[in-house]
Amino acid sequence: MDDTKLNTILDKHHRDPAELLAILMDIQAVENYLPKDDMKQVAKELKIPFSKVYSMATFFATFSLEPRGKHICTVCMGTACHVRGAARLVDQVQRDFEVEAGGTTDDMFLTLETVNCVGACALGPLMIVDGEYHGNMDAGKLDRVLRKLKKQDAKE
């Protein structure tokens, strides 16, 4: 991230170390992950140790320290989704794309993430693909969603 952009984010949060979490979220919103150089820069600008920035970035599940893929597929692993077979959905994406949960495919096509509930538990199992929510998932539906994604990409 260039300095101007970073400074805009820092200024928005009054360069207040208490707002570190929000600052890191804003950086991730732009970069799709937390680049190490940006974290270092944040530490320098806020005059806090890098270790503090790093511990924040590793403590919270929302942050990714690695670049993420073009598409992000998030499977809910909350209790309601679990009892309705969420683990099978994760397995299926893992098999289909040869990617581990939390990882990204080698071609940077897709990142598979899990989340502990997104608050639509009545429609479980639930997954979010690029921000779009899909409820009551099963193997067949998942297949359709992922195939659509691949097709859409082949077209581009």
């Binding site: 208490a18 979220m25 403590f59 692993m77 309601a80 679990h82 509930c117 608050g119 067949g140």
Partner: protein, 627 residues
């Protein structure tokens, strides 16, 4: 409209709003909370475009509302006036709704709710799912536009605040909340008024006191707080302003809402609501001319369950990682930045305006026990539950405290999905437990659930059927908690990992008979020696399943059997003679280990099967069994 400067002006403003409202004005309310997962946003677009095309866009309102409750039947639409209830509405239905219902006033039978015997239920209130509830907090969710403070004010909103500011002293408000018997809805059930009193009485050298709303809603499988914030954010804000007056006035009360990052719509709606409240002078300096100054900021969480714990939450607001601290000194005395701090859950705050508006007597008439002179003496008011899992009518349910599990799961929830057998209900989230069928007649309140080894928690209620493996459920929670442990105490950090590995090996068929004793022993250590409630309650799901479903553990260990058909190492899939030879499973099997010809019985090659369950999922003829 500019600032409202006094309580009498507020009442005048409300009267004006009501007078100018046409009671016959049509409005279409679309749930855009959970129903988003059914594509409700596309439905809203379709309604807006359709109205525009008909030149009706300034005559009919489209409201994007919070969760109406009956998620199972979403996307949900309610048409006003008359509360006409349409379910499973698709964008393709929109033209018909506009032509028939909006323009001609005709009901569309296909979209209405039908009982099994065919009886049509036109209004929300007639549908058994709603009829058997007592919706005090959620009742406005299907008519209120959360983006409009005027909607809230027209329905009487901020009236309780007006009443408080015009005629009550702060300690009278505290006493009222105490007498109401309101107990914290975040899980612990601590009497809210008692907490307020301690915080009010705690010394603060510069008069600063923090008023915080806990909207971290970490219980996976629960979405009550989301529904309130997205459906009726002003109710929560009003509760907090009343709290600020009661606890921090005169002085410098300051407010925070800590919302989980996974709720972007809640963050947005709350932000809009706060801005509107500021414009009206309901937040900021000299609220309604009373001298009270108070404002609220939003802090977003970062996806850590432990941040819902009070001290961790405060550490997170201060800009640290969310690690709990020991509570030798209570947070009401020294919480956020070492100032007296009062933290309450979203639903607790939302109850406050109701209590102040309708009075102690009204509130204490709902619920269990007797709280006169003893705020611990019962559980008063209603509680919202997220009724989910293997139940027919999934959704949000609000019932009086003391309603039995059976009434919730069967009368409201419509029983178990697909005619299966009930096995257990999980309440209290990762700190709670699983209760078996013989506890179904238990009245649900704070004390009853604790007595049987579960807890009320924040309101997640996950129904499990015969296809659920209780060992797997315990394993699920243990892994969840091991992941979410902040790592500060060794018993929680390492103890949970050990519990996981023992339960893992039981699920994999390598359990030993002495494992059960080991689990007991280790559970005790973890709960006794951990610092915060995450660790202290972490063994609860394990303990309750070991207590009520011990035979399943024994089967896993001794017979290498998983009766729920869940634990992969202990099951096999096979095809029965219902197979029509449709070829689907053969095509979909990732291992290509199903053989068979068209119209002939198919067979699974067990040596290559990875037990992914895809064949069972895709078979339309119920021909795949799991043993």
């Amino acid at each position: 409209m500019a600032r409202i400067d006094s309580v009498s002006e507020l009442e005048k403003y409300r009267a004006q709003l009501v007078a100018h409202r046409d009671p016959e004005r049509k409005a279409i309310s679309v749930c855009t909370s959970g129903c988003i997962a059914y594509g409700a946003d596309k439905l809203v677009d379709a309604f807006r475009q359709g109205l525009k095309a008909r030149g009706l866009d300034d005559k009919v309102d489209v409201k994007t509302t919070g969760c109406h409750g009956f998620c199972e039947r979403g996307p949900l639409v309610v048409i006003h006036p008359g509360n006409l209830f349409y379910q499973r509405v698709q964008p393709g239905d929109v033209d018909e709704i506009l032509d028939e219902t909006i323009e001609k006033g005709e009901n569309i039978d296909r979209l209405m709710f039908h009982l099994d015997d065919g009886t049509v239920m036109a209004c929300e209130d007639d549908v058994p799912f709603y009829k058997n509830q007592k919706r005090l907090l959620l009742k406005d969710n299907s008519s209120l536009d959360p983006y409009s403070i005027d909607d809230y004010i027209a329905l009487g909103g901020y009236g309780a605040l007006g009443k408080v500011l015009a005629g009550m002293k702060p300690d009278e408000v505290v006493t009222t909340v105490k007498d109401s018997g309101l107990r914290g809805r975040g899980g612990g059930g601590f009497p809210t008024g008692v907490k307020w009193e301690s915080c009010r009485n705690a010394p603060s050298d510069d008069g600063v006191r923090y008023i915080i709303c806990n909207a971290d809603e970490g219980d996976p499988g629960a979405f009550m707080d989301r529904a309130l914030l997205e459906g009726n954010p002003h109710a929560v804000i009003e509760g907090m302003i009343i709290g600020a007056f009661a606890i921090g006035h005169p002085g410098k009360p300051q407010g925070y809402v800590y919302v989980r990052n996974e709720y972007p719509i809640a963050v947005e709606r709350l932000g809009v609501a706060l801005e509107q409240a500021r414009e009206k002078g309901l937040l900021g300096d000299d609220i309604l001319g009373s001298g009270l100054s108070f404002d609220i900021r939003i802090n977003k969480g970062g996806g850590a369950f432990v941040c819902g714990e009070s001290t961790a939450l405060m550490a997170s607001i201060e800009g640290d990682v969310g690690e709990p601290r020991a509570k030798h000194i209570h947070t009401v005395e020294a919480g956020l930045w070492d100032k007296p701090t009062n933290l309450n859950n979203v639903e607790s705050w939302a109850n406050v305006p109701l209590i102040l508006d309708r009075g102690v007597e009204w509130f204490t008439a709902i619920g269990t026990g007797d709280v006169r002179g003893n705020p611990w003496g019962g559980s008063k008011g209603t509680k919202i539950f997220a009724l989910v899992g293997k139940v027919n009518n999934t959704g949000l349910v609000e019932v009086p405290m003391g309603t039995t599990l059976r009434e919730i799961i069967y009368d409201i929830g419509g029983g178990i999905k697909d005619g299966k057998e009930f096995k257990a209900v999980q309440t209290g989230g990762p700190s709670g437990g699983c209760l078996p069928a013989d506890k179904l007649d238990l009245p649900v309140d704070f004390d009853e659930l604790t007595k049987v080894g579960s807890m009320m928690g924040s309101g997640g209620m996950i129904v499990m059927d015969e296809d659920t493996c209780m060992v797997d459920v315990a394993r699920y929670f243990l892994h969840f908690l091991a992941d979410e442990s902040c790592g500060k105490c060794i018993t929680c950090r390492e103890g949970l990992v050990q519990l996981c590995s023992i339960v893992d090996r039981i699920c994999e068929g390598n359990g030993k008979p002495e494992d059960l004793e080991l689990l007991d022993e280790l559970s005790e250590t973890v709960s006794e020696a951990s610092l915060c409630a995450l660790g202290q309650t972490a063994p609860n799901p394990l303990r309750s399943t070991m207590k009520y479903f011990r035979e399943e553990y024994e089967e896993h260990i001794n017979e290498k059997k998983c009766r729920g058909g869940v634990c992969k190492s202990l099951i096999t899939y096979s095809i029965n003679d219902k197979c029509t030879g449709c070829l689907i499973c053969k095509k979909k099997c990732p291992q290509q280990c199903i053989s068979g010809e068209k119209d002939k019985l198919h067979v699974i090659d067990q040596s290559n099967c990875i037990k992914c369950g895809v064949c069972m999922d895709v078979c339309k003829y119920d021909a795949v069994d799991v043993n």
